[in-house]
Amino acid sequence: MSKRNPDYENSFWQKFAMWCSGDYDPAKGKFEMKKPGQKSKGPNIIGKLMHILAQEESIYASERDKNLRTFNRFYIIVSVALGFLLTILLLVTVSQLPRFGDANAPENNEVARRYIEKGLEETGAVNIVAGMILDYRAFDTFGESCVLFVASCCVLMLLKEKKPEPEKRYDPVNSAILQPAARILVPIIIIFGIYVILNGHISPGGGFSGGAIIGTGFILYQTAFGFEKTGKFLSEKFIKVITVLALSFYCFAKSYSFYTGANHLHSVITPGTPGAILSAGLIVYLNICVGIVVACTMYSFYAAFRRGSF
């Protein structure tokens, strides 16, 4: 609401920027001699206010909208007041919480201790976080993949067009920087992404970060070389099928482990040797699945935004 005013010239930051570049002197006109009885500041502020009011008048023109305007103002005031209240509440709360970095804080309890102490033998993952999200609390993580999935469905629903037309206006231009840089960078980015995914259980990273890195690699490739070339290996059908395959594998693998866990059955999945690439039971496969889903989703977001199709 506060930013409806397009009168940017008079705003503080604009003046600050102009002052930096030497176009504007805030002291100008302040130190000159004034004729007695002339108000120097008044008209400016009043004029500005009038301007704002006039603008509001033009938006809320008819008589019927008068109520609406009062309601909008009331809404703004109430929201700001609530915001201040919330800030104070949260700050008071924070001031009562344990000190930053305290080892005896309530959250460092038996739950976290077991994840650390037993994690290696129970999950086989060297990265405790990966072991936690993909084994101890796997249901959350499956839900999270579903969030990505449903968001990509929604985006597709919104932006899908019957005939995806490549925007001629924004086709890649041949530049001296973009194509050569992309030719060198894209393989490096994608290989780094694959490295991050495959080492998700050994070092920092995992399916989500690696998948996002690969996705940005695809996006860079598309920006440099256009949809025709990208479409050769990333067609809509391919993306759909591979996403469904990865998510189904994830679904089945986790269902198996939930089912055996809840019914106290013996599971065939073993942690393996810690530190090896093919260790940590299902974690490495799940990381690969999540990576595929995330990379495809990120690229499909981009493609849907650009031309209304995958």
Partner: protein
């Protein structure tokens, strides 16, 4: 009471950021800024969680040389929660961006207030025609 106020910088900053983000989401008429406000709001909560997980003098939750003693590593739970949360927030903001594009195509403005006013004018113009499929027919 104010004892920890001056040591918990991260938490204090995250509270301030949360309110800034929320106010942006509520009061900015511009949709793109609303989305950025949303991302800032989510990020601030994650900063809070990450700060809660930190323990002074301990290392990242990755086993070094097979040492599995709990006094060596920080709390891994907040990291896991934040990892999940980051992905949730990116998908929500992608959805909001798609909605923004469609709204712009429909009303050619990014200002939500202006869109509301346009809608109201549309309604006033065809007050007599309260029909379910009216808008579709015109397209």
């Amino acid at each position: 009471m104010v004892s920890t106020f001056f040591t918990n910088y991260e938490e204090v900053a995250s509270c301030i950021l949360f309110v800034i983000g929320m106010m942006n989401l509520l009061l900015q008429p511009n949709l793109i800024k609303k989305i950025i406000g949303l991302d800032i709001m989510d990020c601030s909560v994650y900063l809070f969680l990450a700060a809660k997980g930190y323990i002074e003098g301990r290392h990242a939750p990755i086993y070094v040389d097979g040492v599995t003693d709990a006094v060596n590593y920080i709390n891994p739970v907040p990291s896991g929660l934040v990892l999940t949360g980051i992905v949730v927030s990116v998908s929500v903001s992608a959805l909001m961006m798609a909605l923004t594009i469609n709204l712009y195509r429909e009303y050619s403005t990014l200002n939500l207030d202006e869109i509301m006013m346009k809608l109201r004018q549309e309604e006033t113009e065809k007050l007599g025609r309260l029909t379910y499929g009216a808008v579709e027919d015109e397209e």
